[in-house]
């Protein structure tokens, strides 16, 4: 893990690699490469800067190259007793932000969209553009980072980002009950990091002060027979996004297949079959299309992809 301070030069070099013309995409860990469609043939592939640029644990912020792997980022954070919202699926920080998918314990770790404080990206014109700001609180100008997270790199290519970090909890505990009602479990807890349900069994992730985790573990015993386990169950391959109410009745949702694991109180659902296409709000689509047109008129950034 190299620690670099040549902020401007590395971004400038990345901007040069992206250039002002021709179809281009950033290649990260290729872990979610086909999401929203693979880039069209002939797309030039570039890689984003790698490494931690600046880390201030007491500010709860870290500045990293978008090409840094989430695993490396997590290691640096863990060494200082912190963590962030980005899920580690073998990919890069830029990739995790471009995809915008949350980890299953997002109630504890926060949402990916709330983690990106500042994004320095390369525009379709090949220019370095900064969205957001470096501090944990900031409403200076429009909320551009929000539009970028989850955009699959179709509005700009992420070079460097400042992420919000959080203290890691003192204790983390996964509990499992073969049979339990998910809603009473969820409601009995103040801030569970995750409550997962597969139609019969329930998994709970508790975190925080040891006394609090102990107290919540005891509260759960009144509801079902929970025992400590290593972690969550294996998740079926297809990710669904449904309302928390629908997650509770996941077994009755059409098309989810045989197995599912639902994140209670959140609405993430992992199933054997892909989620059927959802109806789009046409007026919202028009705004999104106009945004794409304004940010990338020649459609050179990640051509073929659509968030």
């Amino acid at each position: 893990m190299t620690v670099s301070t040549e902020v401007g030069t590395r971004l400038a070099a990345f901007a040069e690699a992206v250039g002002p013309t021709g179809p281009v995409a950033v290649v990260g860990g290729r872990t979610r490469w086909d999401l929203g469609g693979a880039p069209t043939e002939g797309t030039r592939l570039v890689t984003a800067p790698v490494g931690v640029v600046d880390y201030q644990p007491q500010e709860m912020t870290i500045r990293v190259g978008a090409g840094t792997t989430v695993a490396d980022l997590n290691q640096v954070l863990a060494d200082a007793g912190q963590r962030c919202a980005l899920p580690d699926r073998g990919g890069t920080v830029g990739g995790a932000l471009a995809v915008g998918q949350n980890d299953i314990d997002l109630l504890g770790r926060g949402r990916v969209r709330d983690a990106a404080l500042q994004i320095d990206y390369i525009s379709a014109e090949g220019r370095v553009v900064t969205a957001g700001g470096p501090t944990v609180k900031n409403v200076s100008g429009f909320n551009l980072p929000k539009a970028l997270v989850g955009s699959l790199g179709t509005l700009g290519l992420f070079g460097e980002v400042i992420l919000r970090t959080n203290p890691a909890p003192a204790t983390v505990r996964w509990l499992h009950a073969e049979r339990a009602e998910p809603l009473p479990v969820f409601e009995a807890l103040l801030r569970p990091a995750a409550v997962l349900f597969d139609g019969q069994a329930v998994w709970v992730k508790l975190e925080g002060h040891t006394v609090d985790v102990d107290a919540e573990s005891r509260a759960l015993e009144a509801l079902a027979s929970f025992r400590e386990v290593e972690g969550p169950p294996p998740l079926p391959p297809h990710r669904w996004s449904v309302t928390p109410a629908d997650a509770l009745r996941a077994a009755t949702l059409p098309g989810q297949g045989e197995r599912f694991v639902a994140a209670i109180g959140v609405g993430l659902l992992f199933a054997d079959c892909p989620q059927p296409a959802r109806p789009a709000d046409l007026a919202a689509r028009q705004v999104a299309d106009r945004m794409k047109q304004l940010f990338d008129p020649s459609c050179r950034l990640n051509p073929g992809r659509r968030p």
Partner: protein, 495 residues
């Protein structure tokens, strides 16, 4: 103002009957009164917000009660080539709701119903004119609250909170308004109605919900908002720490975060404001301390006790002369009342104030505060500091008497220096009040031309013709057709 425009608006908004509302409001007296006001008294009232900025000119003022009525107003405005400006309670401090260029003012205060509380989805659907505190009071007995708690929460609206991405003392642990907006129905400047976001965690497409939050009324009008419900914590501890130096209080704040504790709130008040507050509410604040730190931790009993003890220890290690734990709910409520009415308290001292809002890295708090005092001294102005120290959000309060000749110029110059000192320390222009007209001119000190150009593209995605709240946020030279949309650009907003 054309009669035709007025007639069309009046037809779209017939005089109203009293409507059922879950939150009771004094609206009986409005029954039968026109909801389109063109009299000079009403228009004069809505020329300003809570900022020091002047220069607004309101066109017809409309009080819609439904999204369809908002849509009708927007379409009429478009047909007449008139701009619109949405308005909540008008408590904004950056001039965001000031009508520039005689636009049609769309006042959302009559859209104030709490439509649905859905605890399974942990969401409340509300109209934009619902008052922040009314919502939390309504939710409290159900075991929930709306986390953002601006000091103005007794009057400001959820729509205004959303548009300004507002903060509040308890946003340190819970995040600002953006984190708590799940979805919103919006009447776009074109007149189309869209739903942005959704109750599911990862809606398809770009996060237009997130892009809309903080749009300061320039991206359209929020007409129905799904806000996240936060569970009320079973245990709360409120600590009041006294210090002999402001820097000690600031350094304590940094040290608490460095120790891995993120309290629900950490607020600092300097001696001048503490005395004013104490005289005003008699909450038991120590008036001999150079600064006080109000720290609150919430959660489960055990952890809350541990964190409260740690904060006390850290405070003492950084020079706290006294650490007091609020002994009762009443004492706790009184302390918060003191903090939240700080701005009311200063009215006893001088008639006018200008509240600044910048953010600096926490580690730079003490250093920038010292500069703030120095700047105010040099401009012969009285400054008080009361701020969201936990997230480095400074709120220097310059207090003055506007009748004194030349004082506004000094306030202006001191303000500019405070903003620049914050930026030089690695901070940002605004932590929660937004840009409005107040900080437009400073935008290019934080952002490059390319950055501003891209922010303007975001704006144009929602509002290609710059008809919604023109003349705000993006500085003139960088914004789309704002200049055409403005009939009268205010000359010297300080007037």
């Amino acid at each position: 103002m054309t009669d035709e425009l007025e007639d069309e608006l009046r037809r779209a908004l017939p005089a109203t009957q009293v409507r059922g509302s879950r939150i009771r409001r004094r609206r009986g007296s409005d029954a039968g009164r026109s909801r389109v006001r063109t009299d000079s008294a009403e228009r004069a009232l809505l020329r300003r917000d809570a900022s020091v900025f002047d220069g607004g000119v309101a066109g017809p003022v409309c009080f819609p009660e439904t999204a369809a009525e908002v849509q009708a107003i927007v379409r009429i405005a478009n047909a007449h080539g008139r701009a619109i400006v949405p308005r909540g309670a008008g408590t904004g401090l950056a001039g965001g709701a000031i009508p520039l260029g005689a636009p049609i003012v769309i006042a959302l205060t009559r859209m104030n119903r709490i439509l649905e509380v859905d605890t399974i989805n942990r969401v409340a659907w509300v109209e934009p004119g619902v008052i922040n505190l009314d919502l939390s009071k309504y939710l409290r007995p159900m075991g929930y609250h709306f986390a953002p708690d601006p000091s103005s929460q007794q009057v400001c609206t959820i729509g205004g909170n959303l548009a300004n991405n507002s903060g509040g003392p308890h946003c340190l642990a819970y995040g600002v308004t953006d984190t708590h907006i799940i979805a919103t129905e919006v009447v776009l400047p074109s007149g189309d109605i869209v739903m942005l976001g959704g109750l599911d965690p990862e809606p398809d497409g770009l996060d237009l919900r997130g892009a809309f939050v903080g749009g300061e009324g320039t991206l359209g009008i929020a007409t129905k908002i799904a806000v996240r419900l936060t569970k009320n914590p079973p245990a709360v501890r409120t600590l009041l720490l006294s210090f002999g130096h402001v820097a000690d209080a600031a350094n304590t704040v940094s040290a608490v975060i460095a120790a891995g504790i993120v309290p629900a709130a950490m607020e600092v008040m300097d001696q001048r404001i503490t005395i004013a507050v104490e005289n005003y509410v008699h909450a038991g604040y120590p008036i001999d301390a150079a600064a006080v730190l109000l720290a609150e931790v919430e959660g489960l009993e055990g952890g809350v006790q541990i964190d409260a003890d740690r904060i006390g220890e850290i405070g003492r290690a950084h020079g706290a002369t006294d650490v007091r734990l609020a002994a009762s709910d009443r004492e706790r409520a009184l302390l918060w009342k003191g903090r939240k009415t700080a701005f009311g308290a200063i009215a006893q001292i001088k008639p006018d104030y200008y509240l600044h809002d910048t953010v600096v890295p926490r580690a730079k708090l003490a250093e920038v505060l010292a500069q703030v005092y120095e700047i105010a001294d040099r401009h012969e102005l009285l400054v008080m500091n009361v701020f969201h120290a936990g997230d480095g959000n400074l709120h220097p309060l310059l207090i003055f008497d506007g009748r004194e000749p030349g004082v506004l110029d000094r306030v202006h110059e001191a303000g500019a220096e405070i903003v620049r000192a914050s930026l030089a320390a690695g901070g940002v222009l605004s932590g929660e009040h937004g840009i409005g007209v107040e900080k437009q001119a400073y935008m290019s000190e934080q952002f490059s031309d390319d950055d501003l150009d891209h922010q303007n593209r975001l704006r144009q995605s929602f509002d290609p013709h710059c008809r919604s709240n023109p003349g705000k946020v993006i500085p003139m030279g960088h914004s789309c057709a704002d200049i055409q949309a403005l009939r009268r650009v205010p000359t010297g907003v300080w007037g």
